[in-house]
């Protein structure tokens, strides 16, 4: 199976219908952009805490109206409970506000990530504070949780958090491992079913060609991460859609502190459009399906963003928006002069 992957990644132009494929590689993003003019996107997995204001502005310009930021690992292990608490707080506080300044509605999922589940003494403490955050406004799920090394500790806290999700009536965003992915994915699903979760409340993330069939067959949502080198490429994504159709499939960028692309969703939409995927299918996998899945939390009101980020009337005085902190001003990036 691995060989198949390598073929796809290394020799994409060898694909059967590669007649047109060659040309798109010469196209710049500005050319793609026309293909998706007027489209709206909902990115259900992106770690904005690690991204710059340039990213926010580019995402807004590309049509991303809302996003979900899952709680995850910060690139190095945390050493105490307080840093977890502050991180969760920032996901429902500062980052939420920062995003609103760029016209993008920010939701999050809260959970103990699989890597740090392995520090059991700390994990125990984190489990105690999770309920404080899971019931917050705009928390649309428990996530991202699941397996990394597939250790007993990871399993223990995955199970415990599935129970939290049930109690809070929240969807679950499941991270699947980089290594031994196929087994890890199957195990994640089996455990979720064992705990009595409705698979339509569970989003299995980071799928690939090898995992998707089983995920869909068992009634789960299948999320695909378009992330250079280590996860899916978007040409492969188009193939997956051609094969499986749009039902219960969603696309995200999972951009974080690594080399990743916060515009992966709009870029993939443009590629899908150029490859003849119908507009409605594009809308489902880049917008609607994520809203349907995470909307089960009761925390997503599309009126907040479907026509651009609606101005929250409670945050205005006398009909002007400046008190929201306003929308951030644009700087002339190509100008040598900084005012």
């Amino acid at each position: 199976m691995c060989q198949n992957h390598n073929t796809v990644e290394k020799y994409p132009s060898h694909f059967e219908d590669s007649g047109e494929v060659m040309t798109h590689r010469d196209l710049a993003w500005d050319d793609y952009r026309e293909a998706i003019r007027g489209m709206r996107f909902f990115d259900p997995h992106v770690h904005m805490t690690s991204r710059t204001t340039d990213d926010y502005q580019a995402m807004y310009d590309a049509g991303i109206v809302a996003l979900i930021e899952p709680a995850f690992w910060l690139g190095q292990p945390r050493t105490g409970l307080a840093t977890f608490k502050d991180y969760f707080s920032s996901l429902v506080g500062w980052e939420r506000f920062r995003s609103s300044q760029f016209g993008i509605k920010h939701y999050c999922t809260i959970g103990l990530n699989s890597r740090e589940a392995n520090n059991e003494p700390l994990a125990e403490q984190v489990m105690e504070i999770l309920p404080l955050f899971l019931y917050k406004e705009g928390v649309v799920g428990v996530g991202e949780i699941g397996f990394d090394d597939q250790t007993p500790a990871e399993e223990k806290y995955y199970r415990a958090q599935l129970e939290l999700a049930k109690a809070a009536q929240l969807p679950v965003q499941v991270h699947t491992p980089h290594r031994d992915k196929k087994q890890g994915t199957e195990r994640s699903m089996a455990i979720a079913l064992e705990h009595g979760l409705d698979p339509s409340w569970v989003i299995i993330d980071h799928n690939n060609e090898e995992t998707v069939q089983s995920v869909l067959d068992q009634g789960f949502y299948a999320a695909f991460t378009i992330y250079p080198f280590t996860k899916m490429g978007n040409e492969r994504m188009v193939k997956v859609l051609e094969k499986y159709g749009p039902e219960r499939i969603m696309i995200n960028c999972a951009a974080d502190w690594g080399i990743s692309d916060p515009l992966a969703l709009p870029k993939t939409a443009a590629l899908m459009k150029m490859r003849g995927i119908p507009d409605e299918a594009i809308r489902l996998v880049t917008y609607q399906n994520a809203i349907d899945a995470f909307g089960k939390s009761g925390q997503i009101d599309v009126a907040d963003f479907e026509n651009g980020l609606a101005v929250d009337q409670s945050q205005k005085f006398n009909g002007n928006t400046i008190l929201r902190g306003g929308q951030q001003p644009r700087v002339a990036k190509d100008s040598l002069v900084i005012n």
Binding site: Q315, I322, N339
Partner: protein
């Protein structure tokens, strides 16, 4: 206050929403705190419309306090906080600190809106100054604007920081409760320094800030007013006229007399600070 807030809520809640709030047992703090967090799951975010009599009653009981523009969730949260039993100070403070420590953005807004209604007001001074340090605009606004807490309890140092940050962030200082009463010389001098930095950068200063300088005009500050009279902006010149008119410093009146048209406008009350109260400031844009 708890009673008036409930009366306003009653006029704005649906039957189901009212029931949800009423079934909370006020003797159980955890139930109130959980309801505080969960409110958006059960209540709408529509804007509350208090009738005139309620608005007047609020203003009488607590001058400067207003629920205008609040969402139903925000008002309900503040009401829930006023239901907390205050007899055991240690427990009361601990409950509120927990809410502050784990609050998301809109919860912080509700908590800071409620500060003037909380028991043991001096207990919340540090928290209040933390809101002034916040970069979350809505959180800052909840404390700084249309909220009587800072004017009542802030030291001059904290007060001046609040006013300066409001100005610095291009927010409307006329929405700060107690602005004129808390004006002080140190603030006036800091504003002068601030204006000089802005002018050096080719930027402007919101014209209404000079209302904070009137009482403290002296030779040095009058130089700034002269600068304003010579400004290309009509609003700056109007601000200069109003500042001089309200000053007790005789040379200021002599200066104003040099601009008879402006002098007439302020004397005849055709021009007041209200004309310079802008909500859409953008003073960071450099002037050509």
């Amino acid at each position: 206050m708890n009673a008036i807030l409930w009366e306003i809520l009653e006029q704005n809640l649906t039957v189901a929403e009212k029931e949800w709030l009423q079934e909370k047992d006020a003797t159980r703090p955890m139930e109130l705190m959980t309801a505080f967090v969960a409110a958006p799951r059960y209540l709408s975010k529509q804007i509350v419309q208090p009738d005139v009599s309620h608005a007047l009653e609020l203003a009488q009981q607590l001058p400067g306090f207003s629920v205008m523009g609040w969402s139903l969730v925000r008002l309900s949260r503040v009401w829930l906080l006023t239901c907390l039993d205050t007899t055991d100070r240690e427990a009361y403070v601990r409950h509120l600190e927990t809410l502050f420590d784990t609050a998301e953005m809109n919860e912080l807004v509700a908590l800071y809106s409620a500060l003037p209604l909380l028991a043991y007001p001096e207990q919340w001074l540090f928290r209040a100054t933390e809101a002034v340090r916040s970069n979350m605009g809505v959180v800052f606004d909840a404390l700084a604007l249309q909220n009587p807490y800072p004017a009542r309890y802030f030291t001059d140092l904290a007060w001046n920081q609040l006013v300066l940050k409001t100005i610095f962030n291009d927010k409307p200082i006329h929405l700060i409760v107690g602005l004129d009463e808390r004006a002080n010389e140190k603030l006036a001098r800091t504003l002068s320094d601030f204006a000089h930095e802005r002018w050096a950068a080719g930027r402007s200063v919101a014209p209404e800030v000079w209302r904070l300088v009137s009482k403290f005009l002296d030779e040095a500050l009058l130089e700034d007013i002269k600068y304003l009279f010579n400004s290309g902006s009509q609003h700056d010149r109007e601000a200069a006229a109003l500042t001089c008119f309200q000053a007790e410093y005789p040379p200021a009146h002599a200066l104003l007399a040099k601009y008879p048209e402006l002098e007439k406008s302020v004397q005849h009350k055709k021009l007041s600070w209200a004309d310079l109260e802008f909500n859409d400031l953008n003073t960071y844009v450099s002037k050509p």
